[in-house]
């Protein structure tokens, strides 16, 4: 049986939490049982390339290009309810509206799970969880949590960081000054693969992840394996490693993943980024790229290849608000589904350069 989370189940979980809150609301405030929160981003992107649309994530079918200015790559809105049922049992439901594979802003349930705390360091979750494929993949839609306008798209090329419905176990272990956050996840997920216009082939996914933290340094290792029999067949493994050093006044980080797929071949994606904090301003720079390594049974070559140099600044101008400006130059290293673009036209050539200007306003509440 596949545990499928639908908006109906999510609403039921929310109703359960609220009902429990009402039942005990005589002496305690509702805050103890249910808390509501949300986030959003308002964005505008300008691209000077007329032969393809610049997009904000790999599943978007359209973006900035043909119409030169676009609000769809980065704009989104999310709402969340956290509920505490008992000391050990809590739940979360998050609904997100962001441009999907059909070009619509239909709300989808991103998170909907129950968490049981066996000990403060050992937790089990059941339900829908976003996959920890790359650094920040689980908050990719919450602009306020990112130092940049958006996660460098190349790192997400072989996996749109979708959610999986299933179970996971989180275990935190401290050895001296090093803390390890281990995670094992098993579930069902639709998979986006490169080279095709959004395929939702359901696949079983197993994830092993370990994040080692030592003070302000953290090393993240993740292994994922997807299996699905559809067309195309999904036999994909993604191995990732990322390092971050963030003492507060500045940061430097890098993330990478190597994907191996039977049908589409192998890909290697990575980026490095650094930034400083100057009062309320936080300028940054990024270099990101993805490159196909081998050809799979599909025969498609050079899928996704592009590289990007970006620089921008984040300004935390008011409480719970920030605004960012980002300039980037994307170079096409392939005309076969380059990572940063959708709707690539016949005039596109390897070596084409695109200048992109992005502005976003992020908020949390």
């Amino acid at each position: 049986m596949v545990f499928k989370v639908t908006p109906a189940i999510a609403a039921a979980m929310l109703a359960l939490g609220t009902a429990m809150a009402h039942a005990d609301a005589t002496n305690d405030s509702i805050d103890k049982y249910v808390t509501f929160s949300g986030f959003g981003t308002l964005g505008a992107v300008h691209s000077d390339y007329g032969k393809a649309d610049f997009v904000g994530n790999v599943i978007q079918p359209r973006g900035a290009g043909a119409s030169s200015w676009s609000a769809t790559p980065d704009s989104d809105l999310g709402g969340q309810a956290n509920f505490t049922l008992t000391d050990a049992l809590s739940g979360v439901v998050q609904v997100l509206s962001r441009q999907d594979a059909n070009g619509q802003f239909k709300p989808t349930v991103e998170w909907a799970n129950l968490q049981y705390e066996i000990t403060p360091d050992l937790k089990v979750r059941l339900g829908r969880m976003v996959l920890p494929t790359y650094e920040h993949s689980d908050t990719q839609n919450v602009g306020y949590t990112l130092p940049w306008v958006r996660i460098p798209i190349e790192i997400a090329y072989t996996d749109a960081g979708l959610h999986s419905d299933g179970v996971d176990v989180l275990y935190r272990v401290k050895t001296g000054s090093v803390t390890q956050n281990l995670q094992v996840q098993l579930g069902r997920t639709p998979v986006d693969l490169p080279g095709v216009e959004f395929t939702s082939t359901p696949a079983t996914v197993v994830v092993f992840s370990d994040t080692l933290q030592y003070g302000d340094t953290s090393l993240r290792l993740v292994y994922q394996k997807y299996d699905g029999s559809g067309f195309p067949e999904v036999r994909l493994t993604v191995t990732g490693a990322g390092l971050t050093y963030d003492p507060g006044a500045w940061f430097v980080m890098g993330d990478s993943n190597y994907s191996q797929d039977k049908y589409f071949g192998d890909f290697f994606a990575w980026y490095v980024s650094g930034g400083v904090r100057l009062g309320r301003f936080a300028p940054y720079a990024i270099y990101s790229t993805t490159h196909s390594q081998t050809v799979g049974t599909s025969g498609l070559k050079s899928l996704g290849n592009d590289h990007t140099e970006a620089a921008g600044v984040r300004w935390d101008f008011a409480k719970n608000l920030d605004t960012k400006l980002q300039l980037q130059r994307v170079v096409l290293d392939s005309v076969d589904d380059p990572a940063s673009f959708s709707d690539v036209g016949p005039g596109a050539r390897i070596g084409d350069k695109t200048n992109v200007f992005s502005w976003t306003l992020d908020f949390v509440f």
């Binding site: 956290n82 976003v130 306020y144 949590t145 989180l170 803390t179």
Partner: protein, 125 residues
């Protein structure tokens, strides 16, 4: 006029201390930083009002981060369903009451507010 100037230029010179329950083990400055940045669940952190002078001073001195950075870190934890930000209490009196009532609670108050209901774990200079 001079009085107004003094008020405007009043920089918090008061020391801040991290407090724990009388029955609790002590906590180090490093453990406090981990706790208030959501890296540890070993204790229950309690905040003062977000953006208040003591809040800003505490986070700057203990974690090297400003309010916006702290909010972004907790937003990441909140919006991945992994936890909720520390509860905010009105003032140091409320923080002391809460820490005295819960052996797992950790809070921060002005040094001058310390009394026998709680014990000091770390002095922030």
């Amino acid at each position: 006029m001079i009085l107004a100037l003094v008020t405007v230029c009043d920089v918090r010179a008061e020391e801040i201390v991290v407090i724990v329950n009388l029955a609790a083990a002590t906590i180090s400055k490093e453990q406090t930083a981990d706790l208030y940045l959501g890296r540890s669940d070993a204790w229950t952190p309690i905040d003062q009002a977000v953006g208040s002078e003591i809040y800003v001073e505490f986070y700057k001195k203990v974690t090297g981060r400003d309010s916006a950075q702290v909010k972004a870190i907790w937003s990441r934890i909140l919006f991945t369903g992994r936890g909720i930000p520390p509860k905010q209490l009105r003032d140091s009196e409320a923080v002391k009451k809460a820490v005295a009532a819960n052996p797992k609670a950790v809070g921060y108050i002005e040094k001058s507010a310390v009394d026998a209901s709680i014990k000091v774990a770390v002095s922030i200079d």
